[in-house]
């Protein structure tokens, strides 16, 4: 199972590729697929995105140290288990729930 693939080249060239949902957020949401090595603007600075980030996924707005609470919609959505550099993809590999573990395909019957 692969992620979402872009179907066509959307007519959204003039819109910024990243969304800030709340001023206090420390992550940004990709409004379209972003290629590895693509240059994006984050808070006025030009940043190279090291790995591909798909539509709807998150990347770090600033450097996030391990243990940092991640804010989206201005609300905490978990804590960093390992650090992430500015512009880096923030997902299962570096962010974990403060409530319950997340499930991925391929895990057995034990969700822990």
């Amino acid at each position: 199972m692969t992620g979402i693939r872009p179907v066509t080249n959307h007519n959204s060239g003039r819109l910024p590729p990243l969304l800030l949902l709340h001023p206090e957020d420390n992550i940004l949401v990709a409004r379209r697929d972003i290629a590895a090595g693509e240059r994006v603007e984050i808070d006025g600075a030009s940043v190279i995105v090291p790995n591909a980030v798909e539509l709807g996924h998150k990347l770090a707005r600033r450097e996030l140290a391990p243990g940092t609470r991640v804010l989206k919609y201005g609300a905490p959505i978990g804590s960093m288990k390992v650090g992430a550099a500015r512009g880096e993809h923030v997902h299962l590999h570096n962010l974990q729930s403060d409530y319950l573990p997340s499930t991925t395909r391929g895990e057995g019957t034990d969700g822990h």
């Binding site: 979402i4 919609y73 997902h91 974990q96 409530y99 319950l100 395909r105």
Partner: protein
């Protein structure tokens, strides 16, 4: 600015004896145990009619919740008549269900396969009954129906990173407008609201209700912890969602910004307009497994609470509909919309390309009235009539859950 209903005399409903009105007039064929499922399905299929819907409960052991749900579903305003199909030896209290339907003034009949003489005889008898019921329903007339008589439920399925940015807040906008027009709106799945309990409680119309909301989310978190899984599927993470509380915040935006008027449980019908939270997580020690094993189980509970139609938001792309009440699909992800547009009623993903949230919210608001006026939703036109009902147990809601208006 809140749009006002522009359906001048547009919405019409079938009047029911309890004062509610239906936006559809379906014949429900209900199996009362899995052993009667196939015969019931044959009756529905061979009737050849889109307005004959299959519902039922598969279990042979009795369950109070299942009986209550079947009573609510069989007397739902969108249901005009009911044919019950029993094998004969199951524990389901078919006579009590039959009496309840009969007392509502609806045509009701019961076939017991063991008495009728097997599959073919029951099928033939069932087809005759359904034909007679449809003829009777065709003679019923509609009366004008206003927005304040409408109950709308919302559910999300196959959420991804776009759901909480586009489709869910757009449905929230629609909910705000429906509630301004005195409709009742229901959001649900407390297990997908873990992390939102404080902000939700602050929106409750009384502090006591706020406390009840916090307790009910705590119950959900505890229940899912014992199950070992949160309500979080593989597709959620592939779509960019990382944690349960992240999914929760996105799901929460479906509720809009109206005050929360009540906390209800499956089968409780909102007493008046306003926003209601439906607690779908069973009470007591976890006993029968996952609270809701799939999206359709949640839809069935929303319908049991009187929902005339369902707003279903999806990012990854769900195709399901439902028996009894039409399901409107609001697609959050623009790429999914392009792939699956035949199944999607609204492209909320265009918000990512610059469309305004209000514009999409308005489209949903208008579509709700169109579908309530008889236009089929996409899933409805495609014949989707999924239905699932399983074992659960609930205590009645406490007095703080529905404060007087």
């Amino acid at each position: 600015m809140s749009p006002v209903s522009n359906q001048q005399g547009g919405m019409r409903g079938y009047p029911r004896s309890d004062g509610r009105k239906g936006i559809r007039n379906v014949v429900a064929v209900a199996y009362l145990v899995e052993c009667a499922h196939h015969v019931s399905r044959l009756i529905v299929q061979r009737s050849g009619a889109d307005d004959v819907h299959l519902i039922g409960f598969p279990g042979c052991y009795p369950n109070k919740y299942a009986l209550e749900m079947m009573k609510r579903l069989c007397t739902h305003p969108n249901v005009g008549a009911v044919l019950l199909v029993s094998l004969g030896c199951e524990s389901f209290n078919r006579e009590e269900l039959r009496r309840t339907i009969d007392a509502s003034g609806r045509p009701v009949d019961l076939l017991v396969i063991q008495h009728a003489g097997g599959t073919t005889r029951t099928l033939n008898a069932g087809l005759e009954i359904v034909h007679r019921m449809r003829t009777e329903l065709a003679r019923q007339t509609t009366v004008p129906m206003a927005l304040d008589e409408l109950i709308v439920g919302t559910v999300c399925g196959g959420s991804d990173g776009t759901s909480g940015i586009t489709a869910n807040p757009a449905v929230g906008r629609c909910f705000d407008w429906l509630i301004e027009n005195s409709a009742a709106c229901i959001f649900e799945e407390t297990g997908e609201l873990i992390g939102c309990e404080r902000i939700m409680a602050a929106r409750a119309i009384t502090p006591e209700l706020g406390r009840e909301i916090e307790v009910c989310v705590e119950k959900a978190a505890n229940y899912y912890r014992i199950m070992g899984y949160g309500s979080f599927a593989a597709g959620n993470s592939e779509g960019g969602l990382t944690t349960l509380e992240e999914k929760s915040m996105g799901a929460y935006s479906k509720s809009g910004s109206s005050p929360i008027s009540g906390l209800i449980k499956p089968g409780d019908v909102p007493p008046r307009g306003g926003l209601y939270l439906l607690d779908v997580v069973p009470d007591g020690e976890p006993r029968f497994g996952f609270p809701n094993i799939s999206d359709n189980a949640e839809i069935v509970e929303l319908i049991a609470c009187g929902s005339h139609l369902i707003l279903f938001t999806t990012g990854r792309g769900s195709v399901v509909g439902s028996a009894i009440s039409p399901v409107i699909k609001v697609c959050a992800n623009p790429d999914t919309y392009e792939r699956m547009s035949d199944d999607m009623d609204v492209n909320a993903g265009r918000i990512l390309h610059g469309a305004e949230l209000d514009e999409v919210g308005r489209e949903i608001f208008d579509l709700v009235q169109k579908v309530a006026s008889g236009a089929p939703s996409k899933s409805e036109a495609l014949g989707h009539q999924e239905f699932i009902l399983t074992y659960k147990q609930f205590e009645p809601i406490g007095p703080a859950c529905l404060p007087a208006a």
